[in-house]
Structures are given as C-alpha cells and as structure tokens.
Amino acid sequence: MAEYLIKNGFIFDPVLGIKGDVADVAIKDGKIVETTALSSPKVIDATGKTVMAGGVDVHAHVAGPKVNIGRNFRPEDKLFNCTPGHGIERMQGGFSVPTTIRTGYNYAHMGYTTVMEAAMPPLYARHTHEEMRDTPILDQGAYPVFGNNWFVLEYLKNHEIENTAAYIAWLLRATKGYAVKVVNPGGTEAWGWGLNCDNVHDPVPYFDITPAQIIKGLIEANEYLGLPHSMHMHANNLGNPGNYTTTLDSFKLSEGIKPNSKFGRDQVMHHTHVQFHSYGGDSWANVESRAKDIMGYVNSHDNITIDMGQVTLDETTTMTADGPFEHHLTELNHLKWANADVELETGSGVVPYLYSPNIKVCGIQWCIGLELALLAKDPMRIFLTTDHPNAGPFIRYPRIMKWLMSQEARDQQFDAFKYKDKVIEATNLAGMDRELNLYEIAQMTRAGPAKSLGLSHMYGGLAPGLDGDVAVYDFNPNEPYAPDDIEKAFSNAKHLFKSGVQVISDHEIANNGNKRTLWVNAKANENPQVMRDIKEKFLRYYTVTLNNYEGSGHYLRNPHVIEVDATQ
C-alpha cells in the first residue's frame, strides 16, 4: 500500500492532545505510523491547512427500510438535484434522503469516514446491509432496535438479565448488528394498537412492563455482555412540550451502573438527539428550552454521553422507529405519512417536515440544540449530529460547526427569524458568548464518538496504530476568517484518507475506498431456554422461518467483526 506523509498541517487531535500545532502525519499500510516508519512516502503538503482524523458519526439514518421509504415516497426530494456520474462517481440524487451513493460521497466530502446507521429493524437487516454495501467509502455498522422487542419485553418483565443478554448476543449475530438501540421503549409496541407510552412509568399494553424496566434492564444486559458501545437510547415522549422531565427520568435509570467494557468507553447510556428531548412548557404556545436542566444533569454524570440532534432549518424527511410520534407529526403538519410496523420487533414512521425560520417553534428547536453543545463541560461526551435526516440533513454539519464556533453566525441566524424576540425569550442561546474551537469540534466529531462507540482503538485520532483515516481541510485557523469560511472549508475536504487509501484528492473523489461493515460477535453462555423461546416464537408468530431469518455473510462484502467474550 502507498505511504503518505501529510506535512506541516495544523493538527487538531484530542487523542494526542494536539491543539493546532504544526506537525506531520504519516500513513502506512492502512494505519497511522510514526513519521520515521516511512521509506518513500507520497508527500501531501498541508501547509496552512487543518488536519484532523476522519469524522465519526454516531447516529444517522442512512440505510435500511425506512430510509428507502423516504427516498421512494419523496420524488420531490430529488427535484433539480440529480447529478450524472463522472470519473469514478456514479449517478447521485436526493437532498434530505440521498441515494446510498451520494451518502457515501457527501460524508467523504465533509471528511467523515465512519457512519453508524442508527436503527435497523432486525427483520429488515438484509435490506440495511444491502444499502450499506452500496454506500461507498464509509465504514458502517447498524444498531438493531430492541426496546419494543417481544423477547426483551417478556424477559425484562421478570428482570431476567442473563436471558436478555443471551438474546441480544443471538440477535446481534443473526442481524450482523453493532449495538443495542432503544427507541421509545414500549411505546412502539403500544403503537401496534394505536397507543403510546408517554413516560417511563406508563405500562406497555398487554406486556405489563414499564419503559423504565426496559431501559434499566437493557443497560444491565448491555453491561453484562460488555459490548463495545453502550445502550443507545431514544427516550419516550420525543418532541413534546414538557418532555424534559421524561428525559431526566430516563437518564436517572443509568445511575449506579458502571461500564463493564474492555473497549474504553466510560458511559452506560448514550442518549441520542437530545434536542428533541429538552422541551419545557406544556403546549406549543409556551414551549421553552430546558437545555440547562438537561446539561446540568449530563455535566455532573459521567456515565452518560449524548448527541445533539441539531435542527438545521431545512426542508427534510423525518423518520424514526418511534411510530406513534410520526403519526403525531402528520396530524400536526398534515403532510404524507408512511408507517411500517414490524412483527414482534418494532415499527417506524416517515413524514416530511419543514423547519422554517418563520416558525417560532423551529427557532426554539434550533437554539436548544446549540445550547446543549455550548453548555457542555466535556465535549468528549456530546457529539455533533442532526439525527440525519430528522432535524436536518447531515450535509449541514459544517454549518453547525460554524454556529458553534461563531457568535456572529448565531446572531445572523437570530436576525433571520421571523419571531426573533419570542425565540430569544423562550431560550438561553442569545446570552451565550461561548465559541467552540477546532479542538473541541474534533472532540465532538472524532475522538468523542469513537470512544463512545468503543472504537477508540481504530478511529477518532491521529495516534500511531489507529486507522489511516485523515482529513485535510482548506482552513487556516491562524488567519482571520469569516464564519462562512468555516462552513465552506469543512463541507469540502481537500484530501481524505480512509484506511490509508486516498479517497479524495484535491476535493475530487479519487477512490471508492474499501468500505467495511462492523458488527459485534458477542459470545454468551449457552442458554437453552432462550434458544427454545426463539424457536417457539418463530414457529408460532413470525412469518419467516428461523432458518430464513439469519442473514448470510455475502451481504457484507468486507466485514469487520468485533469479538466480545461474555462467557464466564
């Protein structure tokens, strides 16, 4: 493999603790190495440019059944933006739900090299893997959803952690999944009857278990197995005024539980798109930011990580396994609604949404996301996301960086709001003068998510031994710049290396990379009861046979298996 020496860039790397010093980065055999290890490298001149590790996205909806519903039912999302292939690039299309090919390239253009699909319905695992196979460049993994799974509901009703863990291990293997995802625990099962679970104590119809029991039980089962990532949580009551109390109640369920993982993470719960979960008030008329309460809790509890779910003020396509929420949303905005309930496992909904700067609530949502990040004491525990495409498309990450790094940029946005005064009144953002630096951005987009995922041995930094994922941006932090320069530079990496292969050269896609699919093979003790339960459920309630459920390997062209041994 080619050797590369990226010379004289301004390095921002939380792993090595480098905050903008000029240094060289060496890549050999797919890994970062000491510069002395190179013999005849190709030299990339990064003088006056910013150099970071490849970006890591902990939560985005980029592949799978509901994403494809979003594509197929929104031809308007492709209006005027379908582009021909050129060079090695294939045709592309789509804005908020781009085709898989555009997804891969657009992430690469932002300097991202690893993206996790945030919700994989287990029955649709093949579909998710087929889409990831067709997404170039990126390393990807997918989180199967567990929070409404009948096995889990039945085991956790009696707090059977060992059985839950054995089932998780089996399902991760059957679906080639990466982590334990929980979406509106119990609520989506209730949605099978058109109902919901509004708070952590609202029992699930028939199953007679509360969301609190599901959440706590899945955290414990996750730690029992010692999986790389923690339980990955989307709490009940998303998107409703006054829901911050439900969020805090959910956080509190992690108290007293310590991480048991050999993969270097410190958290036992990752709570995703917290912006949607930080609302005060009791109606859309008086909804207000409760980011301070939320971040007060997060800052003082280091066994939690979160991501933002920043609203980007675009027209987008919402999609979530939170089926009842999407129904709620279609009643709110009267736009088309797709729903896809999945037997024994989960559900999902898809509704287009327009986050307009002319709507007060959208302005408030925009403020809350930024407040979360600006109130964070430790940027290693809060990650930059838009819950793509729910709060906005991922291509806006550089714009969010601009807002986080520049009060001037935030003020410009405030001035563009139709109801500026009302937005300011309901939020705290206008009074904040904190401006994040590139080191903190690297924490939020590289080192932090990599650590939270249990992948800090591969991604997130520039230390020798890590994967050769390196982005070079046309950005000189030592020269004066306008806020828009940030967005421009980070939208369009000058060079990008993925596992030691140069995939972007001078802003152009130069190689389709050697994408890998990450999945976790957890070995748990033999559990005859769980295997019997699995056989029974497939015989009686599933509409596919057990032997046709497990995906075969060929969907994963280049699998990267992370082995976990939980046998004791």
């Binding site: 592949a63 059944p65 994403v67 494809n68 594509r71 197929n72 039912f73 929104r74 031809p75 999302d77 492709k78 379908c82 582009t83 021909p84 292939g85 294939r90 045709m91 299309g93 789509g94 739900v97 781009p98 085709t99 898989t100 090919i101 029955l123 649709y124 093949r126 579909h127 087929e130 067709d134 009948w150 099978g192 009857w193 058109g194 028939y206 129904h327 279609t330 736009l335 088309k336 609604w337 797709a338 729903n339 896809a340 309930d341 999945v342 037997e343 024994l344 559900g347 898809v350 509704v351 009686r540 309630y541 599933y542 509409t543 596919v544 046979t545 046709n548 995906g551 075969s552 969907y555």
Partner: protein, 437 residues
C-alpha cells in the same frame, strides 16, 4: 437416496412463502417433489425440470427460425445493442434477485437506459399514490398477530396469492388472534363473486369502476355524515355497517390489488384507499398493503430506490435519474417510438402489454432473458435462457410487505447455463469496454 431441502422460498408471487420443502435427487441435479407450496408455486419448481427446456441462447434468423448461439455471442449482441442504442428500454426485473437488479441498474446507468419494472402495469399507480399521501403499512406478521378486520379490495388472493389467506390474513392464529379466522371479520369489495368473496363475512359487490366513490363514502360514513341512498351500487346501510365494522376493530388491514389500481381512477383510487386507512387511525389501528404480484417486483423498487431514488419508470438517458410516470413508463415510451432497443429480464411483456406495444418490441432490436419460452421470447431477436432464481440459484427477494428474504438454490441448473447475475455481469463488463468507461 433423496434429500429434502427445508425452508425453501417460493419464487412465484409476492407472498414469498418460505416454508416449502423440496425433495431432490442425491446428486442434487433433479428436483423430485415439492411440499407445502400452492399449485402455482409447485409448478414453478417442477417446470424447471422440463425435458424440453431451452438451455442455450438463441438468435432469430431472417426466416423467423431460431439458431442456437453461445452465451459469448449473446453477451456480445446484448452489449452492442445496449451500447449502440440512444435510449434503450430495460424492462422487467421482477422475477429475479436483487443482486441481478443491482448489476442491471449499473448497466442502465452506463448505457443511459430507461429502467422500468412490472409495477408499470400493476402497482405503479399505488407507488404514485404513496408519493401523494404516504402509506400506513406493516409487515404481514402484524396482520397475523393482531388483525381482526381484514378487507380485500379489488384482489382475489384465493387465485392470485393462494397461501396468503392461510399464512397471513384470514386463517392463521397469531399472538393476539388465538381464535384464527373466527376472531376476524372479513370484508371483500369486488364486482365479481370471487372465491375470496365466498369467504367473506361481508361482500360488497361494487359497480365496476366506482371504487373511488365507495372509498369516499366510507370516509363520510366514519364521520357519521349523510350518504345518498346508494353509492357505487351499494346501499348506504351496508356502507354504514362496513364503516362501523372497521372502526370497531382493534386492528384493521386493507389489502388491494389490480382491480382497483388499474381500473378507472387508478392512482386516485389508491389515494382514497390510503385516506380511508389514515382516517381509521383516528379511531383504531389500521394499515394498508398492496398485493404485489411477482415475487421480487418489490425488490426492484427497493434497489432502484437506494441507487436512484425512484421505485419504477427511472429514465437514466440524460445521464442522471429522472422520473415522470406517463412519460418515462414503458408503454408510453414504446407507443411514442421513444426507445430504440428493448431489453427484457424477469417479466413477460409479450403476454401483458397492449398489443401495439408488443408490436413495437417486435420491430426493435430486442433481447429477452428468461428461463421460459414466453410470448415475449416469440417477439424478441435474441432469447437468453438462464437458471431459475430461487430454484437453481439463490439471492435476495422482497416480499409484498418489503421484508427481504434470501431465496435458496435447491438444484443445479442444467450444465453450462448462466444465471441472471452472471450474464448481466458479463454484459456490464462488455458495455464498459464498448463505452470506454
């Protein structure tokens, strides 16, 4: 000794049964028995064993007779035809696996083809309606485990999806439906007294072509508003009764077929059907599902969805993906003479397209990839027989509820036969050479 292969997936209809058992000879070359399948499914497996099966490509001669050619020659002809054409139509894609569909999409991209699948004369109207209004749906297991109100509208699963009713919709006993069919109310809307209608608790024998009105009348009835005495040939009392039956269920499911997608009103009928389902969700839980025909028509819509963003009628001829049903749909293109070559795989337009479309195929350079001799092979210039997907080669297929299932290989194809994917991969390589990409 014979061997029994279990958990076999039936590559016939969108029901995609996956519990078949197939007995094969010890050497794996002969397929002897098929269990659990419906009559059509069993025939599909057994037909692969026909002694007079065509196993090599054929090219039509001047005098109308066939001449056997090699696969190499067939690849060469197909690649040249596609590469030379300004705007070839690549149609079908519904009776093959997703792997082949993905390669086909790449060929389409390389040659600037119009990609269309059988939805174009089937549930394409449903896909358009979904783009208008969305679709609250679910997997078939949700129906099995929860549904207590089942409505079939313009479809006849007793004949078209024979095991649908026993596996998913009427008879099975699921988790919350322990009483099986006695716990379900079945409603059939069909102008004909079909075999499915004979199983119904209520059969609304609607006047043909008046589906939209009856959907609308149901929406009125849900709200308890006034109806005319008779709508679409159905007395209003009956409509109120059906509305009440649906509302009073715990979980209602509407299945619909070509009787409503391809009759007067087309996509507007489906708009109305989905609106009925949306309305029902105000009172109870309700879902709606198209009864997709070919076993993997759904899959081709999925593959093109993630590669191009559109489920059918994808025009790649300008170098980027365009979608405009009515303009970029197969029959419209053929009848307006807008395509200059036709490639067919996994479908039989010769049997299902209007006659004047079929005549156009006859007049154009044309290739059909199909294990069978079909009306389409009768009008094409080259016929390339291939291995049966789901019998002689595996690969992914999507059920009518979009659930992906990997079909299985149970016997070897006759010596030397190619699969869809192998043939397409060869064509793609040759097209790239010809196009210099």
């Amino acid at each position: 000794m014979t061997k029994t292969v279990t958990d076999v997936i039936c590559p016939f209809c969108g029901t995609l049964c996956d519990d078949l058992e197939v007995v094969v000879s010890d050497d794996g070359k002969q397929l002897l028995e098929v269990y659990n399948a419906c009559a059509i499914g069993a025939e599909k497996f057994l037909h692969s064993q026909a002694k007079d099966r065509i196993t090599r490509p054929r090219m039509r001669q001047e005098d109308g007779t066939w001449k056997e050619i090699t696969y190499d020659e067939a690849v060469e002809y197909t690649a040249n035809m596609l590469a030379d054409a300004k705007k070839p139509l690549m149609y079908g894609w519904s009776s093959t696996n997703c792997e082949a569909q993905a390669v086909g999409a790449e060929i389409g991209e390389a040659v600037g083809a119009v990609m269309d699948n059988t939805a174009t004369v089937c549930h394409g109207t449903s896909l358009i309606a979904v783009q208008d209004i969305g679709i609250p749906s679910c997997t078939l297991g949700e129906v099995k485990n929860r549904a207590d109100r089942v409505l079939f509208w313009g479809c006849n699963p007793a004949h078209a999806h024979p095991r649908h009713m026993s596996r998913y919709s009427i008879f099975p006993r699921g988790f919350f439906t322990g009483k099986g069919h006695t716990g379900r109310k079945v409603i059939v809307v069909d102008p004909r007294p079909t075999d499915t209608a004979s199983l119904a608790d209520i059969h609304l024998q609607i006047e043909q072509g008046h589906d939209y009105e009856l959907f609308d009348a149901l929406r009125v009835a849900f709200k308890g508003e006034k109806l005319p005495d008779v709508v679409a040939g159905i007395p209003k009392e009956k409509i109120y009764e059906v509305a009440e039956t649906l509302k009073s269920g715990r979980f209602a499911i509407i299945f619909f077929g070509m009787g409503v997608t391809q009759s007067i009103g087309k996509n507007h009928n489906i708009d109305a059907a989905i609106a009925v389902t949306r309305d029902l969700n105000e009172y109870t839980k309700a879902a709606i599902m198209p009864m997709r025909g070919h076993y993997n028509v759904t899959g081709s819509g999925q593959v093109w969805g993630w590669q191009f963003g559109f489920p059918f009628a994808v025009d790649l001829s300008r170098g980027f993906a365009r979608y405009n049903p009515g303009e970029t749909t197969s029959n419209d293109l053929l009848r307006r003479d807008e395509v200059d070559a036709v490639f067919v795989l996994g479908s039989d337009p010769g049997a299902h397209f209007p006659f004047n479309s079929v005549k156009k195929i006859y007049d154009l350079p044309s290739v059909v990839i199909d294990p069978h001799e079909t009306p389409t092979s009768e009008v094409c210039k080259v016929h390339v027989p291939v291995a049966f997907v789901g019998v002689e080669i595996g690969g992914c297929a999507y059920r009518m509820d979009n659930v992906p299932i990997e079909t299985r290989k149970v016997v070897d194809a006759p010596e030397g036969m190619m699969t869809d994917e192998e043939f397409l991969t060869r064509v793609l390589a040759r097209v790239k050479e010809l196009k210099g990409v």
